[in-house]
Amino acid sequence: MSEGIIAVIKPEMKSYIWLQTVDGSIQQVEQEVAMFCPMICREVIQTGMGSSKNYAILLPQRVNPFILGSILDYCRFHQVQGRSNKERKTFDEKFIRMDTKRLCELTSAADSLQLKPLVDLTSRALARIIEGKTPEEIRETFHLPDDLTEEEKLEPLRNISDDPRIRLLNRLYARKRKELREREKLKNAEVEEERVDERSVDDLLSFINSEDAGYSATVTNSVISVDAKGDKTSKNKKKNRRRKDQIDSTSNKDEENIPKELDTSPSTNNILEANLSRAVKVQDFSSGTFSPKLELDDGFMDDDLDPAMKEELDREVEDFARRLNSDQHFVSEL
């Protein structure tokens, strides 16, 4: 590239700008590439520097030669006029594939050269790195201290496949289940018959096993195992699940809506296709409503709960029926 230190302006070829990094090394760069950096551009225009080796533009301290190379690669690509947005995007995605340390250096250097588009690109990349890691990994990557007490740590809700709110729901219901178990032990409630409605189970099974559903289900010893096919959130574990009635509204919604949910997933997909990549998560979520729910925190089986739950349920139901009969208010409001 550089051909000697004397001839700078080659009449029939490009012009070069001379840049000096903080370590003292000097290099020359094609003019249109260097001028893509606002800081360099300003220096050239306002001070006339950069035209020869002796008058090289002194770059900010945050720009070391190695990083300068990357930045110039970026400039070299993007300063070309005719490129399509798709091309630029593809280049950018490949460009930022580097380790975190270099990304930080790059962000810093780009900022000192006032190269805003590159700062945006690298900050977004760093944000994505943060998004993809556990708290421990983040601390390690960015060399951060673990100086919060357990109480201070906001609930780390992250789980790669789960929606954080669903995990909270799981926790709440797991706790509720525990409470009910305790209560059952104390009360010594009568065990009511396993009220599995055989008819609905069959319906359910046939639906789940139908072609276009993403699940397969089998029944063994009146326990339904549902396995989500190709479901990213299921982690390919066979889940044992009692065909239980609705204690938590989520499970009820799922069970009642299983036929409809699976049935209309194509239409759901249609809306989602039109949306951003986050839509993929939606698909996971809606098809994976089984799995997050089934991954109970402690992994305990809730076999013993049905009778107690049923009792509670019956009580609630009586309550409602009573209120429904005595109070017409809600009907008119709704």
Partner: protein, 360 residues
Amino acid sequence: MELIPGLPDDLARECLSRVPCEEFSSVGSICRGWKAEIESPAFLSQRRSTGQSQALVVLAQARPNPAERPDSPKQLLPPVCLLSVFEPLTGRWTDLPPPPGCTNGLPRFCRLAAVGMELVVVGGLDPFTWEASAAVYIYSFLSGKWRRGNDMPVRDRIFFGCASDGERTLFVAGGHDTDKNALRSALAYDIRGDRWVPVPDMAIERDECRVTFRGGEFVVVSGYTTDAQGKFERSVEAFNVATWSWRPVEENILDAHTSPRACVEGGPGDDSLYALRKSGGDVAALRGSAWRSVANLPADVTSQTHVLRWCDKLIVFGWGSEGRSDDAVFVLDLCSSKWTKMEIPEGYSGAVMEGCVLEI
């Protein structure tokens, strides 16, 4: 201690501000510096000003009662009030679990308001006892947790209007008590200090009024008096926060037959009041003292259950001449006057009783 060693703090902020809101609780549990950063008001305003914020529309919907069994035909249990979160930009719907202990959903006909990164749920009818609830539940999208705020001082108030200034104050006005007496009283809740503050009474009773916040004032729209049940006033009354007093009632503002539920304030910098007018079949804006039509109402949404504002758009839930459109959300771009219809996925349909929009 730098936020990110090796990066100037302002650049570290750029990175953190680009993290999606689902990661807030994780970011806040990394270290002291990050926790402080994410909890600072500057963080939220940077997200908003740089366009990184996400719009979340929180809705209180009537959903099938979980206690209802499909195989018992004679059960007809009242629906429960549950929260969903709708992201209008991505079309994504998710559940927001109710507060711990609310196994039967939230109080029915509760009011919602958005304050910073928090959702405030206040009032309504207790789902078990059907009595007026004075409970205040606050959900932080930062921590992903619910907490209780101090109860409303007077428990006996339902179907009141409620709005927030988005910063720290929640304003409650009107409604009725258990004897169906319309109320003239109002109160304010300071979220940061977790305390209720009395507010002077309004000029008239306003049951089922709507409260909006614009220009530093809480504007109470319409409502009806005890003697004129269901006959909505056409007046509005504005409470000026700076002077802590009510301005005189402005009469004859609304069209006849315009429900306060069909009214919503304009966005920042837009002092208009918008109303969906059934009589005119249009959406109109009130600027100063004149109403001007800005868009037609599509046939699908001639009656509204709820209207929300998001940026310079209106989000409308309702139904039309064909019947209830539980499966669609209608979004009106106020600039272009164009309507967009967005489908509501299965499992999330249900009458929208109340809603609010968060930008976090």
